[in-house]
Subunit: 439 residues, 4 copies
């Protein structure tokens, strides 16, 4: 983790006010979490000792979980849920858990599902919010995608606040990625400016697992599992041909976690290219020569490339163009690499085949596997507990197997990336046995 370490002060969570309402949760079945329970951000004992030696307070996260006293009175509460950005395994699990926990554990009476992302919070939205009942969400975890619909891009802050007020919403659960959460922080600031008792709770969503200070994001594990199937297909195509090359592009705009984990999990990948580790394409030490050598040795090769890898290879850059969510538009490394491989192997006058697979939409649209389903359950529970306690401008997270509250400002802005010196990349190098000189 190379990101600058936030200070203890940076990690304080904003609240709407004191918690004076006794929690309706059954104290028999629930261990309430103390407001001062905190989770150490540092895990390396040397780093901890250094901090302590310098007399600096250790940076810690507020621990998630149910509070004995809460801020909102559930009896009259209206809550809202909105999902933004691209789809991801687990969205419906989060929607379901938030809804069922509000109704069945806190006895909240009304949950609204805003439609199609922030667009559903615009006053002129053609699609009114759904009233979500217990039974409406009963089986939605079995369906992929989001029952609420999603979209990219922000809306006017004033207008969104007005919509929340119009529907009397006291807690808004925002499920989305970096851009969405930045928007949520702006919304929380606008609400604060108006001094309104409305809580904004984020549930970070990134299939790439690239959100800082959060160990793992939901959907990621399901994506790695599915990515291994695509790699298996590429391996099969490659082995069934003479000088067969199977090329798989996996998700990962800025961080190669899916590519790296899936490569290790399969154990059949020969080249794994990620945004964090630049590689040479041409030249004696470059990727194309290394691929040629691999083919000469084994007659087939499997190449995995994360979508954000090798952007510097493009002569014409994207000039910083951005999509509706504010993400920089990437040029497409998959076809680029396929063409480069084809051109190089053609020049050798050998028989060869390149099969290119882009499974992204097939992966995003899967239902959550068991690991993610359980994770979404915990995130949803944590989000509801946080919202009921009047926390705001925060996201729920996971750190060292503890669920945490993290200020939105801390999770946005700087991305989590694969550290080439960490064990993950070491294992990629040790199992792909790709030449070090290439990268």
């Amino acid at each position: 983790m190379l990101n600058p370490i936030p200070s203890l002060e940076d990690l304080q969570i904003e609240t709407l006010g004191p918690c004076t309402v006794p929690s309706p949760l059954c104290p028999n079945t629930t261990s309430f979490v103390n407001e001062n329970s905190r989770v150490s951000l540092l895990t390396d004992s040397l780093a901890i000792e250094e901090y302590l030696a310098q007399g600096k307070p250790l940076p810690t996260f507020e621990q998630a979980g149910p509070r004995q006293n809460i801020f909102f009175d559930p009896k009259s509460l209206v809550c809202g849920i909105v999902t933004c950005g691209g789809i991801c395994p687990g969205l419906n699990n989060v929607i379901r858990t938030i809804t069922l926990t509000l109704y069945e554990n806190y006895r909240v009476r009304q949950v609204l599902g805003f439609r199609y992302g922030y667009a559903g919070l615009a006053p002129d939205s053609p699609f009114p919010p759904l009233f979500l009942s217990n039974t409406d969400v009963d089986n939605i975890q079995e369906a992929p995608g989001t029952i609420l619909g999603s979209s990219r891009g922000p809306q006017q802050l004033e207008a969104m606040v007005a919509t929340l007020q119009k529907h009397n919403v006291s807690i808004l659960f925002v499920i989305g990625g970096d851009g969405t959460l930045t928007g949520a922080a702006h919304l929380a600031a606008e609400i604060k400016r108006h001094n309104l008792p409305i809580s904004i709770i984020g549930v970070p969503k990134t299939i790439d697992n690239d959100i800082s200070w959060i160990s793992r994001s939901f959907g990621f594990t399901t994506a790695v599992e599915a990515a291994t199937n695509a790699i298996g297909a590429a391996h099969c195509e490659a082995k069934s041909a003479w000088n067969g090359v199977g090329l798989v592009k996996l998700m990962g705009r800025h961080s190669g976690f899916i590519a790296a984990h899936a490569s290790v999990a399969t154990g059949v990948v020969n080249f794994c290219l990620i945004p964090e580790v630049p590689f040479m394409l041409e030249g004696e030490q470059g990727f194309l020569k290394a691929l040629e050598a691999r083919l000469a040795r084994k007659r087939h090769a499997v190449v995995v490339v994360a979508e954000g890898a090798g952007q510097y290879l493009f002569e014409t850059s994207s000039n910083g163009e951005r999509d509706a969510s504010g993400n920089i538009k990437l040029l497409d490394i998959g076809p680029y690499l396929k063409d480069a491989i084809t051109k190089h192997l053609s020049s050798l006058n050998i028989d060869f085949t390149v099969k290119y697979i882009d499974p992204s939409y097939l992966i995003r649209s899967l239902p959550a596997g068991a690991v993610d389903a359980e994770f979404c359950m915990e995130l949803g529970l944590s989000a509801v507990h946080a919202g009921m306690a009047g926390k705001t401008n925060m996201a729920v997270g996971l750190w060292n197997q503890n669920f945490t509250h993290v200020p939105i400002s801390v999770v946005t802005g700087v991305r989590k990336q694969v550290n080439p010196r960490d064990m993950l990349w070491q294992t990629v190098m040790n199992t792909t046995r790709q030449p070090y000189a290439m990268i």
Copy 2:
């Protein structure tokens, strides 16, 4: 079926000579098939009556199955297997069944696996044939692809005959599609010209299910099953977005069977476009307007297109370019349609999303599902029985739930296609409810 009906004479199977060797198969466990058992090609009773009224002999296929007396003496027999063309679920099942049946049922002593298609039969091939033992093939049915490797394109006939003679091969099992089988027929003719006692037995392979006079080809059912998953992903992406369009390109160069069956199986497809049924893209009655209307009504749409559909839409044609197997190169309808949809919807000034999925290589590289696994078992058994009985220049097939022997000349040349008047297409129209005027 619009193809011209072959005559009874056309359907006669070539043989190498009289069967004088008693079959080593256990008569207790095996019902031997009579040499004159035949399977009616016609099933429509009106057509049968018409034939009989005209005094024409009914066209019938020779029935596959074990013969009480066989042509080759298993004790000294060497057999060969070769797989050609693109991979397809079930290839290893066929290789396994042929090998195990030769060894364990007929007590043949040697089976050779030629590598990488017909290229492995070239005298200068850098890859010698594999000696396949019982245990070598024991679990290969669990692996997708082909353990032998495959390639496209023919080899010189004289050279291939020489290779067979060099290895003392008496039966060559050729697993491949239209081009491959045509090559097998030429090989059989060359062998006949030399008056050699070598049998050439084809096992038709086409994931598109487009081989004439064969009810179903192996791998097809697995492909339809997998195609429904891709359609499900497109449906999920479409429903999760405002004016979301999910577009799936499925295999089907000349015949839309995969697209049609998968569309019916899912029940969520709104437009199914296949090569056999031309459609208009532009105009008031065209596809784009119909899609626009569907979006206005339901806010999402799923479109399935077979790869060979709408080739007439391309201004610049492929000029009849062909790939190494002799297949005409098609222009890529998937991206073409994606661009056309994007352009049309952009002109309407509405928010929309188009997600394009091309799952072909993920489908081809699957292991065979149960239906295909059983089918490959029957095809492999039939192929071995036919070869041992000295049949040649034929393929094994399925017709009305009977396994058959079909001359290669009959199965090649004319493709099987979806008949727009048959029940399959009727059901596509009734369940997609796509406008008739569009097509």
Copy 3:
């Protein structure tokens, strides 16, 4: 097929009256079926010739499909659906297709789903029928089981007729097995006795595929696919142990189709025991000795047994006890065989392991695979077309790839079974290589 062949007269379909209402189906997109289109029951040309020679009319089924004129006026029609007996993959697909076809193709205005089998037709039923709308059934095909609930056993005929009248139901679609269809025939007779214009249309449901004169029943293909996974697990357990025996009990009360097809599909089964082929347990030629020999040779073995196999082995019989649906209660061959194997191998003083797997409930509760999903679509369409045309006391079926109308009396009573002389069992013998003497 050893069952007595029904005469042409037996195969006539009962109707409620003449069809005078023009079909609302679009003639552009629909090929209407002629009332006198029929499908030959016989496929063997020798049998056909024999019939013709004797001057007997050929037995033929009425062909399913949309009629140009129909009996019921869709505008005011109320239809009902009921599912009975054990669950089976595809139930929701059939419910969905019937509902959508009634609403969207025929413009029917009301569809009722009776709850929990025939119990939902009892006047004192605590659960009123569901009103099924288009959107209610939109995604139910993705869910296994039945959204209507099911139960076993009949209800009083008078009372069921009264319920249908009370709800103004004109067509009742009954999805169920042998006992359920027999009940449906009684219900149709009772309705006829009262001279009421109510149609009873059966959709045969049997995961065992044991209904006579119907080529294949829905759910069966999905069950075979899933059964191969259980066999694979048994194979893995067996191979991983010294003298490991994997024993799988599969569904098949009277017919071993699932066991036979799944055994062939996997290619790893050494013994396949089905109700149609009695086997000896003890003795020099018996199963236990054959298993012992297999273990001595290969050190592992896979045994598949259909639940109805070997009932004669039990000393104490079930005395013809029956369950609520009227099925004879079987004694449990799975644990019986496990104990017998354990006892026999223990007596040999060898190390061994027996792993017993009973996957039945895991199989029944799967969603339909693509083959069954498509099949359910066709069955549902056929059922609706038949009902709208005023047919009654009939079931929809499949024969030689044509959808058919079959009188309920023809499909009930006599079961379809594996014929030991047919290709299926031949292939089982040829691939398991189980000793003939044992059976």
Copy 4:
């Protein structure tokens, strides 16, 4: 975690001698681990402070990973691998990684696979060890089970040492559970007594995830994923019937981790019964009454029970009988509970159905999912690095996302169990909403 915390002294790893051979691993691609890198056992900051306040040295694990200098000279090294106990997803992944890492990273020349557990180390074993080459293990990770075979129970120590000496084995990798590892410790002690330079490295295997001081064991995540499918089947059966009860028995002899995680992941479980939390069966507050109340409310219920739950319910105890691996024989809670439920509901005179599912052998025999596949890769790498460095009498483990070396004595003896006060059980209670009074 309630187990007594081992002292720093207890956690020291035994070694065969000083490391004087330079590692053949490429220093460019490998970050070597310092011999004094250690991983804190404690993660709770309060506990850490308490330790420090008491002046006690913090308990830490030796960190796994490649060492710059190693003990054994790879050039002449022979290594052995043995798998013991029940099968578990990932066994072949571990075998493959150990073998490939030895050959391709360390350039070891010979790897032996002992057959069928410790029985393969007996001098009179009828099955000689397999010589495992690179290509032998190339694709074995796709196959479930163990290619080496497995068995339960120990062998004579002297005899096993003799076998290792006879084959010149310097490192033995032992993959197995609690009993197997205890045996490995005895073997290491015997080797030490003889002063032999043979390393014994354990890879802990327990599908139940019940090994102390190891965060997660391989196969467990795959098992939870598969268990959710069985629960889904039970849910489907339950919902499709009137008063339907779906009962699933899951693995977990002493620890309910699979049951608890799978229950949370599905979100459809109403009762989750595990060994760690005793429950009442009878009485007003008991499980049967609670089940009755659930059925009255919702008409269906899903019950999950771990195999070790409720052993105190049996009148006749097992008298401490043990199986060949030394595990106490449990009485079968699944059928016991099924009978108790059936008896109770029968007494109420209501219609009901109980479907009992035991998926254990179907789960054990799965190939590893991606999470476990990656985990096995890391475990295998860590085991090889440890062995090459001359460590012995230790197991590789995972603690707080670091791979560790743990003395076998620390991981055996005391089991890891679900702590009813921890978040996992809290979430089970909050999502099943099972009555607290029952337990």
